[in-house]
C-alpha cells in the first residue's frame, strides 16, 4: 500500500520535472517566437500540472490533508496556460514579428490584411 502511495507521488513529480526541463531546452533551441511559444505553453502546462498532482497526492496520502487549492491551481493552469500562449503569439503576429525563414505557408497573413482593411488601420 505504501509502495503504491509512493508511486503515486513520485511518478507524477518525475514526469513533471522531465517536461519542465524539456520546456527550457525548447526555449533555447527553437528558431523563432511561434515555435518557442508552442513549447512554452503546452509542455510547461503539462509539467506543472503533473508536479501539482504529485504534491496533492503527497499531502492527501501521507499527511491526511485534502487540499482543494492545489486542485483549483491545476484547473486554473489548465485553462490559462494555453490561452496565454495563444494570445501572446497572436498579438506578436499583429505587432509584426516575422516567422522563421523556413516557414512554407502562412494562412494568417491574408486574414490580418483583410481585418486591417475593414477596420481602417494603416
Amino acid at each position: 500500500m505504501t509502495i503504491l502511495a509512493n508511486l503515486l507521488v513520485i511518478l507524477p513529480i518525475s514526469v513533471g520535472v522531465l517536461f519542465i526541463v524539456v520546456t527550457a531546452i525548447g526555449l533555447i533551441r527553437f528558431p523563432d517566437l511561434y515555435t518557442r511559444a508552442h513549447a512554452a505553453s503546452k509542455s510547461a502546462t503539462l509539467g506543472v500540472m503533473s508536479v501539482l498532482i504529485g504534491v496533492f497526492f503527497h499531502f492527501w496520502l501521507f499527511e491526511n490533508h485534502f487540499n482543494p487549492r492545489i486542485l483549483l491551481g491545476v484547473l486554473f493552469l489548465f485553462i490559462t496556460g494555453p490561452v496565454g500562449g495563444h494570445i501572446m503569439s497572436r498579438s506578436s503576429y499583429i505587432a509584426g514579428v516575422k516567422p522563421w525563414e523556413g516557414t512554407v505557408r502562412d494562412d494568417l497573413a491574408p486574414e490580418i490584411e483583410r481585418m486591417k482593411k475593414e477596420q481602417g488601420i494603416k
Binding site: 520535472v17 519542465i20 526541463v21 531546452i25 526555449l27 533555447i28 506543472v48
Partner: protein, 94 residues
C-alpha cells in the same frame, strides 16, 4: 529516497530557470522575453510546491494559486501592451 528525488527535482528546476533566463536576456524581440518570464513564473510555482513537501508544511500552498494568477495577469498585460501600445484603454468619445 523521496528526499533525494525532491532535491534532484529542485536542482533541475533551478537549471531550467537558468536556461530560461538566457532566453530572457538574449531574446530578439519583446514577446520572446514575455513568454520566457511566464515560463519562469510557472517554474517558480512548481518549485514552491516541491519546497512545501521538503519543509513538511501546508502554509505555502496558497502561494501556488496566487503565483499562477499573477503570471496569467502579467502575460495578458504584456499582450495588450505589445498589440496596441496601451494596457488599459480610454473610453472612446465618438
Amino acid at each position: 529516497m523521496i528526499d533525494q528525488i525532491l532535491m534532484l527535482a529542485l536542482a533541475l528546476f533551478s537549471l531550467s530557470i537558468a536556461i530560461t533566463l538566457y532566453r530572457v536576456i538574449k531574446g530578439p524581440s519583446m514577446p520572446d522575453r514575455a513568454i520566457a518570464l511566464d515560463t519562469i513564473g510557472v517554474n517558480l510555482l512548481s518549485a514552491i510546491a516541491i519546497v512545501s513537501i521538503v519543509l513538511k508544511t501546508k502554509a505555502y500552498l496558497e502561494a501556488i494559486l496566487i503565483l499562477g494568477i499573477l503570471a496569467f495577469i502579467g502575460t495578458i498585460a504584456f499582450t495588450k501592451y505589445i498589440e496596441r501600445g496601451v494596457v488599459v484603454e480610454r473610453k472612446s468619445n465618438h
